[in-house]
Amino acid sequence: METDKHKNENKNREHETLLQVFIRSFFRNKLGVIGLIGVIIIILVALLAPYIVEPVSGYGDFENILNPPSQAHPFGTDDMGLDIFSQVIWGTRTSLQVGFLTVLIALVIGVPIGLISGYFDNFLATIGMGLTDVFLTLPVLPLMIIMAAVIGSDIKNIALVIGLFSWPKLARITRASTLSVRNMEYITAAEGLGASNFKILYKHVLPNVSAPILVNMTIIIATAILSEAGLSFLGLGDPLTWSWGKILENAHQSGAFLSAWWYSLFPSLAIMFFVVSFNFIGMGIREALNPKLRQR
């Protein structure tokens, strides 16, 4: 990318690699750092869940139904007397799993479609672009609901369903970036030297469109969590795992959310914390990669 060249020329600090420049500018951005800390906390909570709190099990504790937050139950208990804190902590694992699986699927489908429809000017490119547009206009939640209802609510299936409908955003951004490098001299030079299309796409185009892809990956993870919570809330979650959406579904279905504020508040805060963290990281990366926005 041209901006990379600029970076090299303007560089006062010699012997500094591009990665170091990127890391330095990323850490100057407050939002990005806050997001990074948030994501690290989420990953730690997911990994250390067994050491933080025991998973809820059994049919509940009918002595302690809908108890407000206390020392024994920091987030209170639900309408079955189960500890909400434990459900929220263990729900982190579900969300993280769904987020990463989704973004993986979206990458595998979206990036090739974006590259092809941005680089070539043929039938295949038109189809790729058309499909992207179609899936951007269609209401995807009802589609996800049908598919989740058909294939069953295993957590991997949920991630598959969300991933299958999350790629269009990635495809569009990849296509736009590919279009902007498509006619640059180094691509023409590679073509002139007889490099194969695949090699050009893989070695020359992909590295230069990876920045916007990276930014969008974080946004896709954030959106995937909202989708997973939404599906769980509608009763399509995996019945065998803890999920923030499911806690809210229970709160809503039992009607207990009206009398017990803690029932819906804590899982929702967890969702918001997750989504905001990933969105902030995305903003941080975007600013660190964009020399116009970067604070020097």
Binding site: G130, L131, D133, V134, L136, T137, L138, P139, V140, L141, P142, L143, I145, I146, M147, A149, V150, I151, A222, L226, A229, G230, F233, L234, G235, L236, W244, G245, L248, A251, H252, F257, L258, W261, S264, L265, P267, S268, I271, M272, V275, V276, N279
Partner: protein, 318 residues
């Protein structure tokens, strides 16, 4: 212009065809017999065999696909397991509520979002701009059911200004009926507005920043046109054009919000129906709801594109 309209409608039909094909694929290529999914499990064997033949499920996939399309063209979406009536009929009776909810939300988000975006763009970098930005980040990060539940808790339960669910009180008629429906709509519309406001604000803000740096704005200023006229007349007019496309894109996404919001507020639209159908495993209804919502979104998208073409003469030249 006629050419453009025809082209746009053809694209809409292709989009719809893809939507239909995707549902066909989902329903036929999934593990398990499609008949178990599309037919009522409580049906006896003889009736089942008859229906299988009627739907052509004993034929090859390609034939099935065309039969499926023919069936849809006739407006036949099958029978609902729960309601025991044609799906088309059930959904069409619910659709006006969803369209009302989404239409109102669209209008309110535009009326609030566009001016906010203009102000944020004009006062770029000020405290006001940052506040508006923080608010929009909240909008894209919040989980819709929680926002609904919270509003319901405060304004329906704690301070009972608004009804806690439904779309109307049975038995109310005349002017009171209109007022009653309005009161029922306030919280659902507010929920969706808070969520989707961000889209207009961010889009309008970016668009304003672009437009304000253009030459004709400087010319207007140096001519001595008042700042208010420059911003609200010269700049906003051009900045609005790309925002119209936002309205179209937002519709598809707003359906997701409508499903969740209607579920929370027991609003009798298609979204709430989808939620109920999930619980009952009523696949004909799920499929029908998706297709009819898709048709609505596609139709409204064509409409916004036509408005866009009307506003921006450059589109017609291409």
């Amino acid at each position: 212009m006629t050419n453009y309209i025809i082209k746009r409608i053809i694209r809409g039909i292709i989009t719809l065809l893809i939507a239909v094909s995707v549902t066909f694929l989902i329903l036929r290529f999934m593990p398990g017999d499609p008949t178990t999914i599309m037919l009522d499990p409580r049906m006896n064997e003889a009736a089942r065999a008859r229906l299988l033949k009627e739907f052509g499920l004993d034929k090859s996939l390609i034939v099935q696909y065309f039969l499926y399309i023919r069936q849809l063209l006739k407006g036949d979406l099958g029978y609902s397991f729960i309601y025991r009536t044609p799906v088309t009929q059930v959904i069409l009776s619910r659709l006006p509520w969803t369209l009302l909810l989404m239409g109102l939300t669209q209008v309110v988000t535009m009326l609030i979002g566009i001016p906010l975006g203009v102000i944020a763009g004009y006062r770029k970098g000020t405290l006001l701009d940052h506040l508006i930005n923080a608010f929009t980040i909240f909008g894209i990060s919040v989980f819709i059911p929680w926002l609904g539940i919270t509003l319901l808790y405060f304004f329906g339960y704690r301070i009972p200004i608004f009804p806690i669910g439904g779309a109307y009180t049975p038995g109310v008629e005349g002017i009171t009926y209109l007022k009653d429906v309005f009161m029922h709509l306030v919280l659902p519309v507010l929920t969706l507005t808070l969520i989707y406001l961000a889209n207009y604000v961010l889009y309008m803000r970016a668009s304003m920043v672009d437009v304000l740096s253009e030459d004709y704005i400087r010319t207007a200023r140096s001519k001595g046109v008042t700042e208010n006229t420059v911003v609200w007349k010269h700049a906003v007019r051009n900045a609005l054009i790309p925002t119209v496309t936002m309205a179209g894109l937002l519709l598809g996404r707003m359906v997701s919000g409508a499903v969740l919001t209607e579920t929370i507020f027991s609003f009798p639209g298609v979204g709430r129906m989808i939620y109920e159908a999930v619980g009952q495993q009523d696949f004909p209804v799920l499929q029908g709801a998706f297709l009819i919502l898709a048709i609505s979104v596609i139709a409204m998208n064509i409409l916004t594109d036509l408005i866009y073409a009307y506003l921006d003469p450059r589109v017609q030249l291409n």
